[in-house]
Symmetry: C2
Subunit: 337 residues, 2 copies
DNA sequence: TTGTAAGCGTTATCAG
DNA sequence: CTGATAACGCTTACAA
């Protein structure tokens, strides 16, 4: 059990070649056929694996990607998982840190990752601004902002079409005749929450529908109780909305529990569009209409972009891409024209 | 932006001391007061941080902990997050890999982590056996099994009292007069699922209550639809149970949706005990009785154990600890004496 | 194609 | 207490 890993030196000894030749082979250089065979034999026999730590010291690479997320929640987790799936294949490992929605921790953990000399960074920022980053990051490494842009900082950014998809969802309700449409939003300091609310507002504006302040509730993304409370408030309104759009998964869960508790009939008494969890939508009756974000695709997109940047491809820098979320219509909404 | 990090050499130059002295200082050795001040000044001035890669090459440490989990789900995520919280403070970083409940991937990613030369491993195993580990892990590093033991392998193991807590939950229902008690279990190849079922069986046995096969349903842990379906099956039974115990969070969610859909009155028509999500329990009406696992505590326990092992403290090896989950009684269960 | 040797930033040994 | 020096395992000119 206490086996010392073989080094290039051992391979050199075994084959009678120099370590330079072995190294060259390992890095894809040309070697005589017979030496190649010999080396490969040695590698097998000695169970050799390059020491990436040592290599990293020379090449100034750690083969490590730092990922900074607000919390370990299903949306981010799914992204991280698919990101990691791509990255691991190419030998990169991923260090994920959550900052628990905490401004101080957000900077500290960014600093931590930087000090760990990660080769690149993936950031889902909340409070972080360009200046914070410039203060912490001194080496020139690829940085990708995900889900939310980083204010005052030029870098690759992968977003979702929050505004557009929110517009479409609300428009759909309008077309079905709804005029009293509630929305449960996330905190307005978060980019995605702003965008989703703006889509709601724009749709109202475009169709000449009055926006009522009482129909707009603000919850918290990572707190299903806030979705529950917001929905209760909407329902307790003297003139309750005929439709409600809930703009994130955890809040949707809470909202549904509220509806059940109040024994509201969907879609007869209330139309509802939720967010982000296909599995739940499948089993809720009547089947839940949803905005679905392409989480896997986000992860893959970020990973592939990162790999290109790590290879030095900068021609399309800074890239700003919006991936499409979809409005999935099921039976939880109804025409009340 | 392209600033080259300062090295010990730079500090040596700045102070006029030798790199050996600087290194000694950095590692807590004794240095003359005036030199100490000088060095500290230099460190500040040059914004120096030790290069852990280089240090790692010498010391054979990466300051990295590998964590292998089945999937990114709330239970494991919470553990990982609290584990990481402790570990980061001491300078360790954490590489988390999920294997998506896939046997092949489970071995591959263990191998990946090992090759990354992590200083220690935290494993939540599913298919992994002692032989697999022995085949992959050659160096002598601390390994901690979490939530589930590793078959045929001697290592530290941190578990939850699944059997006991399940017994207590079911016993509670029995004491309230229930004789027809349904259970929705996880897959029987998973340790925790076996234990939870066994607790159910033992309670029945101890109280001389007949166990009906039809009241035992098997779902999947990471699939809420399986909880939904299982509950529907239980309810469709010609003689449905008067109480149901659901043994994991995702399945509990599905079960609740089924109950709502069927418009079953809780606890009048059905008593129910769920699993693992306090937040949800708070907002479901009537308030949901629950088995609550100490996820944060698990993470912290594992982290602290790991830190001790990494310091070489092996006196209590192999440690096998069971942490206490609690049965939290709320209003979703009723005496039908 | 292959080998020699310097160097990446540390730590550790051993004199001084 | 301090400093010179040899490692750690690898890559990379440069020379052979």
């Amino acid at each position: 059990m206490v086996e010392i890993p073989a080094t290039i030196k051992d391979i050199a000894k075994y084959t009678g070649l120099s370590i330079a030749t072995i190294s060259k082979y390992l890095n894809g250089g040309n070697v005589l056929e017979k030496n190649r065979i010999l080396i490969e034999e040695a590698i097998k026999a000695l169970d050799f694996e390059v020491n990436e730590i040592a290599r990293g010291l020379r090449t100034n690479k750690t083969m490590t990607i730092g990922v900074l997320i607000p919390v370990f929640e299903v949306f981010f987790n799914t992204i991280v998982s698919s990101l990691e799936n791509v990255l691991l294949e190419t030998g990169y490992s991923v260090i994920v840190c959550d900052y628990r929605d905490n401004e101080k921790l957000e900077k500290e953990r960014l600093d931590f990752l930087y000090k760990k000399r990660v080769d690149a960074l993936v950031i889902v920022p909340t409070y972080l601004k360009g200046n914070d980053i410039r203060k912490i990051i001194k080496r020139d490494i690829p940085i990708v902002a995900v889900d939310r842009p980083i204010e005052d900082f030029e870098c690759d950014t992968i977003l979702v079409n929050n505004f557009e998809v929110s517009y479409k969802a609300v428009e759909r309700l309008i077309i079905l005749g709804h005029r009293k449409i509630g929305i449960i939003c996330g905190p307005q300091n978060i980019y995605t929450a702003q965008e989703r609310l703006n889509g709601y507002l724009k749709a109202h504006n475009d169709y000449g529908i009055t926006v009522y302040k009482d129909y707009i509730k603000f919850g918290e993304y990572h707190n299903m109780e806030s979705g529950y409370k917001s929905m209760i408030e909407l329902l307790n309104n003297p003139e309750p909305p005929s439709a409600v759009f809930v703009t994130n998964y955890e809040m949707t869960l809470g909202a549904i529990i509220a509806i059940n508790e109040k024994d509201i009939k969907v879609p007869d008494e209330l139309s509802i569009i939720g967010f982000d969890n296909l599995e739940m939508a499948k089993i809720v009756k009547p089947s839940l209409s949803l905005v679905v974000q392409p989480m896997e695709e986000i992860g893959e997109t970020v990973a592939n972009l990162l790999l290109r940047r790590l290879k030095g491809e900068k021609n399309d820098f800074p890239l700003r891409k919006k991936l499409d979320a979809q409005v999935l219509i099921r039976s939880s909404i109804k025409n009340i024209g």
